[in-house]
């Protein structure tokens, strides 16, 4: 009984995802208030009607009370969580008790993150985002929503089953020699060849990594690339898993499977990047390849309205087309979020993929590079957002500061628009709005720097986002010279890596299931049931595997005990997050037959443990703690580092579960040893 909904202020549904139970619930309720003989309208209309009172009430409260709903619960323990991001209201519902308020809030933030990764800075303009999320063309809308729904489902599945996504950190396969070899291979052979090939059509490979299920075998970033943030990496893993889902029940690939994995992966139902022929940002978009639609299997027992059935038609994607993703880049002069990249996800074998991230090349005939466009747009957007905020705060020095910001960018923006005018990008609208803005702000007849200028700020933002969108979200330009690595080149890359890893394939698949096992720890740490250790500076985790499936076993076996431990681990992580949110960095709990410990501490680069500091206390409805939706730990480190200027500070977390009968002294000793020894570089003596 689950649902996630994104709505505009006028109760228009911009996206929805429901499970079957919730769908039926809505249909029943709507049907109850319908007259006889009338068919049910489209599901999105039904859900819009049912939720409309909440959405409208929410905006009323914001307008008139300056407060907003964050959650509801009912006597039957249904939970509703609401969050407003700019002009969109996200609502997540759970009625089957499997998700609590924290889980739903996390889901909302992750959804937003995925939308940012897919749409980039367009998300900063409410008007444009609404149009992106809800295209006019119903077919396209259906495809887009299907894709987003599928991503959400992939995320939920990973969240419930994968420790990486539980603690939001990446797990690396631990095999020092192989990993080193792979990284070298990626650097010296693969990426170099790709970047020097003529078929790369101007793309430059920045990052390359090999995934085994959700675990990282090797990761290479080129020298002039900025580090890929953990948040983006996790988002990319979700996308990779979404494209090529790890079928955990079939982790032993049979011979037949091997043949079928060349080229495109199995069962992909996702849309290609829309490639329209004209550049007007408001029209509908059609796919370049008009392949025949494929009917997805529909359960005949599910009663659905006629038109909603049609929305299940999806066309198979073009496997060699990369996905546009927007990732954070940090340069000397600052942080630039949502910079355009292309993602190539090349399946090697079921469960093993090669992912390449390339920098988007500029248009062939333009005189400004794409990265310059993106960076400039971001800087201008930031300026207008800041101005808007200052104007909202009131008159006085705030407005004066706002003026300064715009004066700074005025000249640059003039130049930028002039440069755009000479390129293929349509910038007439932007020019017009900028002129109007200047009139409003700088001339005597205009409103000056007052609250009245705010709508103009919004318009400027929309226009800037429109330019951005033109550049990066649409694939204008002749379709016969697409700007991406040629299919042949991609295939060659695939083959290269396959050859390299052929002998290791089976080992890797097994290793990903049993990266670390408890067996090696039981002798030194009797009574230890499980642990998770995370390096929050690099976003890496170490933990014994905890997969509970039919075929794989861990030391806990299968069956109710293993399931129980798993549920305890999941609950424990949620609990410790709640305490961390309130400023408690050490928590020990005696719960039933087990004793749980959680520690968070800071170290400097040499491993010296720094003194503990105060952890800021956050309100209940703050963004969820983790690294995927936003990087809480980066902020924490920055906060802590204020008192430790000049040295690099790292942050670690350790979570352990022991049997309750072990004396606490011993438990703490174990924790101490684990904390110090787990991150010992390269040769891990405990393995």
């Amino acid at each position: 009984m689950k649902c996630l909904l994104i709505a505009s202020e006028s109760a228009e549904v911009l996206f929805h995802w429901t499970d079957l139970e919730f769908q039926q619930n809505i249909q029943e309720q709507y049907g109850a208030s319908q007259e006889e003989g009338q068919g049910l309208p489209a599901f999105e209309d039904m859900i819009s009607t049912q939720f409309a009172p909440i959405i409208i009430s929410s905006s009323t409260l914001v307008d008139r009370q300056g407060d907003s709903y964050t959650s509801f619960t009912t006597e039957s323990n249904h939970v509703y969580v609401l969050h407003q991001f700019d002009e969109c209201l996200y609502i997540a519902v759970n009625g089957d008790g499997e998700e609590k308020e924290d889980d739903l809030r996390r889901k909302i933030y992750v959804m937003k993150k995925m939308i940012e990764v897919l749409f980039g800075m367009v998300t900063l303009s409410g008007a444009l985002l609404k149009r992106e999320l809800r295209p006019q063309d119903t077919e396209q809308r259906a495809r887009l929503w299907k894709h987003l729904q599928s991503l959400l489902e992939t995320y939920s599945h990973l969240r419930e089953n994968d420790q990486s996504f539980l603690v939001e950190a990446v797990e690396r396969l631990i095999h020092p020699t192989l990993c080193e070899q792979c990284i070298e291979f990626l650097e010296r052979r693969l990426v170099q060849q790709l970047n020097s090939s003529v078929e790369r059509a101007g793309e430059e490979v920045l990052h390359a990594f090999i995934l085994v299920h959700t675990k990282l075998l090797a990761f290479y970033s080129s020298r002039n690339a900025s580090t890929l943030t953990t948040s983006d990496l996790l988002a990319l893993i979700i996308m990779a898993q979404n494209m090529y889902p790890s079928n955990v029940d079939l982790d032993d690939p049979s011979p037949e499977d091997v043949e079928s994995t060349s080229g495109s992966g199995p069962e992909s139902f996702y849309t290609p990047e829309p490639s329209p022929t004209d550049r007007d940002s408001s029209d509908s978009e059609k796919p370049v390849r008009g392949s025949t639609p494929v009917f997805e299997f529909v359960d005949p027992d599910v009663q659905m309205a006629e038109d909603s059935l049609q929305t299940l038609e999806v066309s198979p994607p073009d496997p060699s087309a990369p996905r546009r993703v927007f990732l954070e880049v940090s340069l000397k002069d600052g942080l630039y979020p949502m910079m355009p990249h292309s993602m190539y996800c090349l399946p090697l074998w079921p469960g093993i993929s090669l992912v390449l991230l390339t920098k988007v090349r500029g248009r062939q005939h333009s005189n400004i590079s794409t990265s310059a466009v993106a960076m400039s747009v971001y800087k201008f957007l930031e300026a207008f957002a800041k101005l808007e905020k200052r104007l909202n705060e009131g008159q006085g020095s705030a407005a004066a500061r706002g003026q300064l910001t715009i004066h700074d960018v005025r000249g640059k923006l003039d130049r930028f628009i002039k440069a755009l005018g000479q390129s293929e990008i349509q910038s007439a609208h932007l020019q017009q709005v900028w002129t109007d803005f200047k009139n409003q702000a700088f001339t005597k007849s205009g409103s000056g720097f007052t609250r009245d200028l705010i709508p103009w700020c919004k318009k400027m933002k929309t226009q800037l986002c429109g330019v951005y969108r033109q550049c990066f979200l649409t694939d204008s330009g002749s379709s016969d010279s697409p700007r991406r690595l040629s299919p042949a080149l991609q295939e060659r890359a695939q083959t290269m890596v396959q050859d390299k890893l052929l002998d290791w394939k089976d080992f890797l698949l097994v290793k990903s299931k049993r990266n670390i096992t408890m067996v090696s720890y039981l002798e030194d740490f009797p009574g230890l049931v499980h642990f998770i250790c995370v390096d929050r500076s690099t976003g890496q985790m170490i933990a014994p595997s905890l997969s509970i499936t039919e075929r794989t076993t861990s030391e806990l076996g299968k069956g109710p005990v293993a399931q129980y431990i798993k549920s305890k681990v999941w609950a424990m992580v949620n609990t410790t997050r709640r305490y961390l949110q309130k400023g408690y960095s050490t928590v020990t709990l005696r719960d039933g037959d087990f004793y749980f410990c959680y520690f968070l501490w800071f170290e400097n680069e040499t491993g010296y443990k720094l003194e503990a500091g105060d952890i800021p206390v956050l309100p209940d409805d703050s963004a969820p703690i983790g690294m995927l939706a936003w990087d809480y730990y980066k902020k924490l480190l920055r906060y802590y580092s204020k008192n430790h200027q000049g040295e690099a500070v790292k942050c670690y977390e350790l979570l352990t579960i022991h049997l309750g009968v072990i004396p606490t002294d011993i438990i703490l000793q174990h924790c101490r040893q684990l904390a110090t020894k787990l991150w010992e570089p390269s040769r891990n003596p405990l393995l």
Partner: protein, 626 residues
């Protein structure tokens, strides 16, 4: 003394609750109906009207929408700066808002308490609004709310506890004396149970904590307003020291009170015969741990036979009709609630663990209801006798005779009574596991479910006898006030003892507050709903705030996780230890325990020595954690 008491009752600035309102949606059905018609009461009263209307209309709308989507009423509603507990019933919507720091379970509990309090003094909500004006009832809501908020320290935002006298300062014999007074009063068959209060604090009580708290509200009212007689009968013959008011009990409350095996004399003149062995009577709940056996000898042990004899004529005389403000004819059903017991939450959000006790309860309640079926005719009375002076609860006939496990039906009411009575002595002795077990019966505690479902309210009377700062409050049958003999008996038998008790209690000096010591603790007794703490209770005391915040978090955690036994949480500046069992929750913090290391696991960290320190130090406060 008067001033001291007044000071205690004065509500501080930081109340527990930021908003409270009751909204009646049935008054605002048409498009043109202004929202203000539906606002029955809004706190803070000085809130501008448009703001009131905004909140009420928005909450009502959203509440309706969500409850339709989920087919279940809304329970909590959170905004960014406030969290609200919600109750929805018919067209009524209650909302109580507190700051987001207060645990959600506590906010919900406070709202339920408030509603229960209203129903205790006014009966069914819908009926009350039909019979009284909005203004009258608004004034009452205001009174109840201000009582619940009065004297609240930050700890009281988390735990709802009874204000009791400091038992460490009082000679236990005085407490025993108070208990005996109550037991003596209880011998009158028209008296159900009572409590003794001194300066607004509980000295001894025979009722559940929830019921005691409700009674205390009236006591504080009569004290602050001077003595005013409020009720259908006056008792000027007692120099105005006695007052009374009507109250309403729910079925479960009544059954709980009547579940006590009480020694009922029909009159004070009956000479007890020694045929039967003395029953183990239930000691009223004092603050000392003295078990029930100690008080036996002073009792006149009465046998079953006079009781049997006394009860039968009693029955035949009785006009068995239930007084209830609800004029409906569904009362036949109402006496037979389904054996499927609605499990009301225990105080502070916990649920009972004793499954077998539940089975126990169900079996004899079932029998009680069957008995009730045979034994009563329920009339619906007119408005004039809504407070039913001559009404008599059918269940009263079975008072003290409820322990029949066989739970058999019977056509003949009288023979059934006999069987019940006979079974009683065996039953109660057999099942009496001591005061603790009886006190722990959660299913008897009235929940807001009872108050909000259409279970009928049974009108009783609250009788109060005041001797300066000491008050004897008894829940009595409504016609007690017209029964001069009983009134005389109760008044005079207790007068001397009350005077003596009052004199003793008055002379007790408050006791020097002990040196705070290098630690802070809070100990909550879940059974008695009492809080023991060494916090000063001043709102916003700076060094105490982190401890209160930690306690609040831990308390929520304990409520949500039944299996959690102990927890230690540490921030850079302080570490707090919390432990709990079925009967108690204890929180402990040692001063000066700042983290000297990095937070990496260290068994020498002072945080991990908290459990043993707590056990050691709290012994002298009477808290046994071993």
């Amino acid at each position: 003394m008067h001033d001291k008491l007044m000071a205690e009752l004065m509500p501080p600035d930081s109340g527990r609750c930021n908003y409270f309102f009751l909204y009646d949606g049935s008054k605002v059905t048409g498009e043109g109906d202004p929202t203000r018609e539906g606002i029955c009461y809004f706190y803070p009263e000085e809130t501008p009207l448009d703001r009131q209307e905004l909140l009420c209309s928005q909450f009502a709308g959203v509440g309706r929408c969500v409850s339709e989507l989920s087919s279940s009423p809304v329970r909590t509603l959170r905004l960014r700066h406030n969290k609200f507990a919600i109750r929805m019933k018919d067209d009524f919507l209650w909302a109580l808002g507190c700051s987001v720091e207060v645990p959600t379970v506590s906010v919900c509990e406070l709202l339920d308490q408030l509603i229960n309090l209203f129903c205790f003094y006014n009966g069914s909500v819908r009926q009350s609004y039909q019979l009284n004006s909005q203004e009258t009832l608004a004034a009452r809501w205001a009174r109840y709310l201000s009582y619940l908020q009065s004297g609240s320290s930050e700890m009281c935002h988390i735990f709802s506890c009874l204000k009791t006298i400091d038992s460490t300062n009082v000679d236990p014999l005085l407490l025993l004396k108070a208990a005996l007074i109550l037991q003596a009063c209880q011998r009158c068959p028209l008296v159900l149970a009572g409590c003794i209060l001194f300066r607004g604090r509980v000295v001894s009580t025979q009722m559940s904590p929830e019921l005691t708290m409700k009674v205390m509200v009236h006591e504080s009212e009569t004290y602050t307003k001077g003595q005013r007689i409020n009720g259908p009968s006056t008792s000027s013959s007692f120099d105005g020291a006695v007052s009374s008011t009507t109250v309403f009990l729910t079925m479960s409350e009544l059954q709980y009170l009547q579940a006590a095996p009480v020694d009922k004399d029909f009159s004070s003149h009956s000479t007890p015969s020694k045929n039967a062995p003395p029953k183990k009577t239930r000691l009223s709940r004092t603050l000392s741990d003295t078990p029930s056996t100690e008080s036996e000898p002073s009792y006149p042990s009465s046998s079953q036979s006079p009781q049997k004899a006394s009860l039968s004529p009693h029955l035949s005389e009785s006009d068995t009709s239930v007084s209830s403000p609800t004029p409906s004819q569904s009362t036949a059903d109402s006496l037979n609630p389904s054996p499927q017991w609605l499990r009301p939450p225990l105080s502070n959000g916990k649920h009972s663990h004793e499954a077998e006790e539940e089975a126990l309860d169900q079996s004899y309640y079932h029998s009680f209801h069957n008995n009730g079926d045979g034994g009563s005719q329920i009339h619906s009375e007119g408005d004039s006798s809504v407070f039913g002076e001559n009404s008599h609860l059918n269940g009263d006939a079975a008072c003290g005779t409820v322990f029949d496990f066989r739970g058999t039906d019977s056509e003949n009411e009288r023979s059934h009574e006999d069987k019940m009575v006979a079974g009683d002595s065996r039953g109660c002795c057999g099942t009496d596991q001591g005061p603790k077990a009886e006190m722990k019966d959660p299913s008897h505690l009235p929940s807001v479910f009872d108050n909000l479902e259409e279970s009928p309210f049974i009108g009783m009377t609250l009788y109060m006898h005041r001797v300066k700062g000491l008050v004897l409050a008894l829940l009595v049958e409504p016609h007690f006030l017209s029964d001069a003999a009983s009134m005389e008996e109760v008044y005079h038998s207790s007068l001397a003892s009350l005077n003596g008790l009052e004199a003793h209690l008055r002379t007790i000096s408050p006791g020097a507050p002990g040196a705070p010591g290098p630690y802070m603790f809070a100990h909550f007794d879940c059974i008695q709903s009492t809080l023991t703490t060494n916090l000063s209770g001043r709102p916003g005391g700076a060094p105490e705030h982190p401890f209160v915040r930690a306690t609040s978090l831990l308390h929520s955690h304990f409520c949500n996780t039944e299996t959690l036994q102990e927890a230690i949480i540490r921030s850079a500046s302080a570490a707090v230890y919390g432990t709990r069992s079925v009967a108690q929750e204890t929180y402990f913090q040692q001063h000066g325990g700042s983290l000297r290391n990095s937070g990496i696991p260290n068994h020498q960290d002072s945080a991990f020595s908290l459990p043993s320190k707590a056990r050691h130090r709290l012994l002298k406060h009477g808290v046994n954690l071993l």
